[in-house]
């Protein structure tokens, strides 16, 4: 069973250790989210992992969210888990559109590698210091970041005999 007491302890420890970087703590449906200043995320993760009393040894998930039209536009959620203490904690950094860059946590949690590549590929959030920040799911030459809210869903225009050439000219496949 999950241990909510440990999460409370963690939040208290975080507030004590990082009084400036921990911005807001919210609870919803029994889950605790801690908003952390962008620049300090790797540091906070390292503290949570290495502190033996807290022991958040696993990064379960990392997801980027587009909150537009809210400001700041993007958010990156880090879902941490402590196997020994059975506690789950969510860290969140808010990322403004003008400067979509977050320090990488790959040197803290080794499995963040692909999650961060996916967030870069889909949402266009750069992870400073990532060893291999290539696109993960989309082709290497793809333009844009498809998971942003302003990116159209996209569909294929239906060609009829009367507008065949017109639509064909706009199609993105290789031509002579």
């Amino acid at each position: 069973m999950l241990n909510p007491e440990h999460v409370k302890k963690t939040v208290a420890a975080l507030k004590e250790k990082f009084p400036e970087t921990v911005q807001e703590v919210s609870e919803f449906r029994g889950e605790t989210t801690v908003n952390v200043a962008k620049a300090a995320i790797a540091e906070v993760c390292r503290f949570l992992r290495d502190d033996a009393a807290l022991d958040y040894n696993v990064l379960t998930d990392l997801a980027a969210v587009d909150y537009s039209p809210e400001e700041p536009r993007f958010g990156v959620s880090y879902i941490l888990f402590s196997m020994s203490k059975m506690a789950r904690l969510r860290l969140k950094v808010l990322v403004p559109e003008e400067d979509p860059e977050v320090p990488t946590v790959t040197n803290v949690y080794i499995n963040a590698d692909w999650y961060e590549r996916e967030a870069w590929d889909m949402m266009g959030i750069k992870f400073a210091g990532h060893p291999d920040l290539r696109r993960l799911l989309m082709p290497a030459d793809w333009e844009g970041h498809p998971h942003r809210k302003d990116y159209p869903l996209g569909y294929e225009e239906v060609q009829f005999s009367f507008n065949w050439r017109e639509i064909d000219a706009k199609k993105p496949y290789a031509k002579e």
């Binding site: 069973m1 999950l2 919803f28 449906r29 889950e31 989210t33 040894n57 696993v58 990064l59 379960t60 998930d61 997801a63 969210v65 587009d66 909150y67 959620s77 879902i79 196997m83 059975m86 789950r88 969510r90 949690y109 080794i110 499995n111 590698d113 692909w114 291999d132 290539r134 696109r135 993960l136 799911l137 989309m138 082709p139 290497a140 030459d141 498809p146 998971h147 809210k149 869903l153 290789a174």
Partner: protein, 411 residues
């Protein structure tokens, strides 16, 4: 269009050793259409003779933008897309998505629905493990296994067809409960299957477990220590094969799993063989849960879906007589329901490990963001690490043993 005559290797240069650049070792492409890659997984392998030095997975060939598409649909309509994620675990995908919605809406699920959910999820686990067993063994040249396993899997597909009308994309689990109650004759069919499978499993174990060729191909191959498995966040049988006792069903029980008696199989080998043993024992544990769920089903009566009309549609019979039922029905299928603003994370144990969904609601009838934490994604990541200095044939064994489903990885 990019100029395809340019060598693409240039941007991948940093992934390989200096020996590859001098031509001493060879960089080859494996997949995406290779049958042993279980779908459309492309590997770029650096080889020294037949020894793998690097194996870099290149994924995304099955990317269908499901997470993005779900944002443009109401919560109920988006449910249909979750079936298509991990196509061997359709029920499990439905389940985790519905659990997240129920957490968000604070919906209570009736007891009978929970029993049905557990029963279906465990049958799905058996079906998924059967596909794994068949394809994994055929990768290791045990040719007949595939046919046997698919024969058994078909019984489960028949059961799914019986309850939901669909063999694979069932969408049986709905927010607040399940789609329908089980039809007459259901218990007998499942009972028959539960009594039929153990003898078959014994047969398969006789074919493989002590088979010297199978052991040679699997023992000591793809070793990952418990410490590294946790570090890489492996999930499910891949994690438990390394001796880490973690199962979401035990750790954070959902849908009433705490009421069932079952063990979590644990192996300490950490290699392909240990993962194989782990899954073979999981078959029997799942059967145990199925049997208990079936007994529970006989005694648990009551509704199979919540009575909260804001989440679940009213029964067909009410539509003719009740104006309110008609309004609810119309509202649900046109506008959908509106969960409060907030973010939740729900987790389940899929056949491959921890399957989670991170759901962000902005207070509209459509989800603002759905992110799936897939076990296959987590299990494929350390492939390069696990396959270093193994033979190419071992690479195939390792891919099979972590049981990846590309639909799960690429979404």
């Amino acid at each position: 269009m990019p100029d395809l005559s340019e060598p693409v290797l240039e941007e991948l240069r940093h992934l390989f050793t200096a020996r590859a650049l001098s031509g001493e070792t060879m960089v080859l492409n494996m997949g995406p259409q290779h049958p042993s890659t279980h779908g459309v997984l492309r590997l770029i392998v650096e080889l020294d003779g037949e020894t793998v030095i690097r194996a870099i997975p290149d994924i995304g060939f099955l990317h269908t933008g499901i997470e993005k598409n779900m944002e443009s649909k109401t919560y109920i309509k988006a449910l249909v897309m979750t079936d298509r994620l991990d196509y061997l675990n359709n029920i499990g995908n439905n389940l985790v998505y519905c659990l997240a919605i129920e957490k968000l809406m604070e919906t209570k699920v009736p007891e009978r629905a929970n029993v049905l959910r557990v029963l279906m999820a465990e049958l799905q686990r058996i079906a998924s493990h059967l596909v794994w067993l068949g394809t994994h063994s055929i990768d290791l040249a045990a040719m007949s296994m595939l046919l046997y396993c698919f024969r058994e899997r078909d019984y489960i597909m028949d059961i799914f067809e019986m309850v939901s009308g669909q063999r694979m994309m069932t969408t049986y689990i709905r927010p607040g409960g399940v789609w329908r109650d089980v039809p007459a004759g259901f218990t007998e069919v499942v009972e028959n299957f539960i009594n039929y499978l153990p003898a078959k499993l014994d047969d398969y174990e006789r074919l493989l477990t002590n088979n010297p060729i199978f052991k040679q191909r699997t023992q000591g191959v793809g070793y990952i220590s418990a410490e590294d498995a946790v570090k890489w966040n492996l999930a499910g049988p891949s994690l438990r094969g390394s001796g880490v006792n973690f199962d979401v069903r035990k750790a954070m029980p959902y849908s009433g799993y705490e009421q069932y008696e079952f063990d979590v199989p644990l192996e300490t080998g950490g290699d392909v063989y240990a993962r194989y043993r782990c899954r073979m024992r999981e078959f029997r544990e799942s059967l145990k849960i199925c049997r208990q769920a079936l007994d529970k089903l006989k005694t648990t009566k009551g509704p199979f879906i919540t009575n909260d009309r804001k989440v679940a549609p009213p029964p067909r019979s009410e539509l003719g007589t009740s104006m309110e039922a008609l309004i609810h029905h119309f509202k649900l299928w046109t506008e959908g329901f509106t969960p409060p603003k907030g973010e939740v994370y729900a987790a389940t144990e899929s056949p491959r490990g921890e399957l989670g969904v991170y759901l962000v609601s902005d207070g509209t009838p459509k989800p603002a963001r759905v992110h799936f934490r897939q076990p296959s994604f987590a299990n494929l990541q350390p492939l390069n690490y696990m396959s270093e200095n193994h033979l190419v044939a071992d690479l195939v064994a390792i891919i099979g043993s972590v049981d990846i489903v590309l639909g799960d990885i690429d979404r």
